[in-house]
């Protein structure tokens, strides 16, 4: 069995007295996509932020390529160089053009020569159909375009693992589709990913493993087919029933 890219062992996280994540253990193998579903407040975003070391865990361990990144002496900046993160609200830098957004990390963090970074960035933008937007400022782009730029920005450093945090929640259905097709492309290229999403149809398509998070705990874990069509736990059934009622399933 190949080594896991990411492995969590009994991770716990609380904010004050409120426990947000409890006893979270799972593995993500190379080229696999693991999708977390669950109601708002179930801890999906916090989980991704913990993996990225934006939040500090209270207990347990996080291993990236076998290295314990939750250890006290780990430099978060070094870890984050291996991770790409895309946020629900895009978080593009509004004072920079699309191109400047994409080359910021390569030139400042990895110290790639500017010309080379620009070449690579334009190639990526071209690949995802955003070449002609390179010199625009983010505010001039549609939400879907902004989110795709954010994905490209996170790819610019060739991350080992991509973390996608409800990246379509702020978009209308048409724009959702253009963003999701970008993610499908990445998946087919073998990118290892952890996603949190509300898009069940998409989860079904892209997930190798689906994981239902309920009040900070992993309740069910397995293939999308197994969980969506034959849930074991009553909470999962209730969640899926409500999604169905809302027309989201």
């Amino acid at each position: 069995m190949s080594q896991a890219v990411l492995q969590l062992e009994k991770v716990r996280k609380s904010f004050g007295s409120e426990v947000v994540l409890e006893d979270i253990s799972f593995k993500v193998l190379e080229h696999k996509a693991t999708v977390f579903i669950g109601a708002s407040g179930s801890g999906k975003s916090t989980l991704l932020r913990c993996i990225n070391l934006l939040d500090q865990i209270d207990d347990g361990q996080i291993l990236l390529d076998g290295q314990d990144i939750s250890a006290a002496d780990v430099n978060p900046d070094e870890v984050r160089k291996k991770l790409g993160m895309v946020f629900q609200s895009f978080n593009l830098f509004p004072h920079m053009t699309v191109l400047e957004n994409v080359i910021l990390a390569p030139t400042k963090v990895q110290k790639v020569a500017k010309e080379k970074a620009i070449d690579e960035a334009l190639e990526l933008l071209n690949k995802f159909g955003l070449r002609e937007k390179a010199d625009q400022y983010p505010d001039r782009l549609s939400g879907g375009q902004q989110q795709r730029v954010a994905i490209i920005r996170s790819l610019s450093r060739h991350p080992r693992l991509l973390l996608l945090d409800e990246i379509t929640s702020a978009l209308d259905p048409v724009l959702v589709n253009e963003v999701l097709s970008t993610v499908r492309d990445l998946k087919s290229e073998g990118m290892t990913m952890v996603l949190a999403t509300h898009e069940m149809g998409f989860a079904k398509q892209v997930a190798d493993e689906l994981c239902y998070l309920h009040q900070g705990r992993i309740l069910e874990w397995g293939s999308p087919k197994k969980i969506l069509e034959n849930p074991k736990k009553v909470e999962t059934k209730e969640f899926l029933r409500r999604l169905h009622q809302a027309g989201r399933l």
Partner: protein, 302 residues
């Protein structure tokens, strides 16, 4: 048919629209334009009329008041004003020099204090406390007092090697006070940048300092440019306060002339000299800011 649509926008609006050549405005659109033109004409007429009435009345009251002749002779004796203008300009070079030196120092010190106060590094804790105390103290003391304390207090210490030059000491006092104000303005700007921007930058692997330098500060400083400009204009004027230590600036030069002739025109001339600098400065900055916003933000007509 190429006609510019009425909704006035001076942004890169194309001078003609190409709708395949066959489009020409409908009857409804033509009527709408007609109505808009009529409304604009009416608005302009009303504005002109009301301006004429209000300003005319004010002018009339001023000119027909019994003391107008005396007032004009004491405050607006232009021939005399131009005669002493070189002396005021010479004094103004002091204001200008002080503004450049103090302005640069204040920008650097203010920025440093703002960064200290917004930093979270435990190693910087003592400096953070000092910075907070500094701002609290010097923002609260009238600048005149600081100038007197520094200008007369430091020489009184009689420490060898310390300057007794009142110009240097006066400038130092101005820098001390303004740094406290400016630090708070910059700090408030830093706090307005949403934490998600920081999270995005850090998740890209940028260090804390790189995040500040490339992501937070550029956005923060742009937002606080208008209040910073406020402080700069105030600084230009407040450099005159060092005159109490015996330095001759524009206001002091005007005062000297006034004392000779009992005519207040020099004060008015000094005021005009200050305005000639501050108004263009404000206009220019506004223009730069507007351009930058137009570049970065989606165009809206609201």
């Amino acid at each position: 048919m190429a006609k510019k649509l009425g909704r006035g926008s001076n942004r890169a609006a194309p001078s003609s629209y190409d709708f395949g050549g066959s489009w020409s405005p409908s009857e409804i659109e033509l009527a709408r334009r007609q109505a808009r033109r009529a409304r604009n004409k009416r608005s302009a007429l009303i504005a002109a009329l009301s301006s004429f009435l209000v300003l005319g009345t004010l002018g009339l009251v001023l000119v027909t008041s019994p003391g107008w002749e005396t007032l004009r002779n004491t405050f607006f004796k232009w021939a005399y004003g131009f005669e002493i203008l070189p002396k005021i300009l010479l004094g103004f070079t002091t204001n200008a020099t002080l503004t450049v030196i103090a302005g640069t120092s204040v920008a650097l010190i203010g920025l440093a204090i703002a960064l200290l106060r917004t930093s979270r590094s435990p190693a910087l804790t003592p400096f953070r406390i000092l910075a907070t105390v500094y701002v609290d103290v010097f923002r609260g003391i009238p600048m005149l007092l600081v100038i007197l304390l520094v200008g007369f207090g430091i020489p009184a210490l009689q420490i060898k090697g310390l300057t007794n030059n009142v110009l240097v000491l006066g400038t130092l006092a101005v820098i001390i006070t303004y740094s406290a104000y400016v630090a708070e303005v910059i700090r408030s700007g830093i706090l307005t940048v949403h934490p998600s921007q920081r999270a995005a930058a850090r998740s890209l692997g940028l260090s804390n300092f790189q995040t500040l330098r490339h992501v937070v500060l550029p956005q923060a400083l742009k937002r606080v440019t208008p209040p910073l400009l406020n402080d700069l204009v105030a600084l230009i004027k407040d450099t005159g306060l060092v005159s109490i230590l015996g330095v001759t600036d524009a206001v002091r030069a005007a005062q000297i002339q006034t004392a000779k002739t009992f005519n207040y025109t020099p004060y008015v001339m000094a005021a005009i000299v200050f305005l000639l600098v501050t108004i263009p400065l404000t206009r220019w900055t506004d223009r730069m800011l507007r351009k930058s916003y137009e570049r970065e933000n989606a165009v809206g007509q609201a």
